[in-house]
Assembly symmetry: C2
Homo-oligomer: 201 residues x 2
Amino acid sequence: MEKRAQTSTPINEFLERRWSPRAFANRSVEPEKLRKLFEAARWSPSSANGQPWYFIVSLKENPEEFARAVDCLRPGNVAWARNAPVLLFTVARLKWPDKPDPNRHAIYDLGQSVAHLTFEAAAEGLFVHQMGGFFPDKVTETYGIPDGYEAMSAVAIGYSGDSDSLPEDLRKKELAPRNRKPLESFVFAGHWETPAPFLRS
Amino acid sequence: MEKRAQTSTPINEFLERRWSPRAFANRSVEPEKLRKLFEAARWSPSSANGQPWYFIVSLKENPEEFARAVDCLRPGNVAWARNAPVLLFTVARLKWPDKPDPNRHAIYDLGQSVAHLTFEAAAEGLFVHQMGGFFPDKVTETYGIPDGYEAMSAVAIGYSGDSDSLPEDLRKKELAPRNRKPLESFVFAGHWETPAPFLRS
């Protein structure tokens, strides 16, 4: 299923095609493709090259392992994410490696690395659906995440599936149009809420 | 100048080619390309589609406006970033639009949107260098950013320039090899610090 972004100007096709489905095909993701996704995340930029990103990955083909991951999701996400072939949790290291100071950009840089993973996924024909709806404390306990690290998101990855496989409420969401605020509402110049002049050209 | 990522497995060419130079060509960025960059950021995913990203953009071709942006950078970045044709500040809305609750993913989602901008830049032959070294309070004051919003990064954008144009200390950094921690140190399965088995395949 395609659900291309309705852009005001053409953008790269992988960015245009990227969206966050709930229906995933019953098909594993090839290990070599998984490796590419994390290699893409690896080469993300970060403040002072701090690389504050960590990932804990579960594959549906390992049912016990996968069940532990699914148990960390909020019920609304369990309903569809349990059918994805890959689930992962993203974790930020909140401090710098060799000093006690907080890294102001840890969570920002984690978000960037997940976006890099997502872009590589799009280039490989895969889809990614990120979730805020999970239990961070349960993830910390389940996987033994140490102090100073924070689980920030859950991520489902797989090939696109059939929206008819979803329960009716989720199917409606799957087919609903995508929307975004207009450029003029968030790209400013000179002063807050003054739209940048180049947007009109 | 090229400085491709030394990947352990091939990844998309735009991700491989992306890096953060300090030398920018003395050449403006076309307004239609700038628009594409922000359109790419616009279609980034976000928690509950909150879209907590904002950008304040300055072009070197408007010298007064550009000087105000440069004044918000830390001196180490002023040395090279004042020669980029485009400077911007990224800002996160820390709360949800219509309720007082903090948005746990605001800064993570801002990072993602900047990464989307960066991919589109790579696809358009442009380079992006993000900076943590700026004065957030000065940005807030200069541009009238309201309470509840936080300036998170400064970003230089332009075409690649000649590293010989840089002062010696910066030229050394520009030519230094890029490095990243190995996949096994941040991609886990089952438990923290247990490398995911698919990394070996």
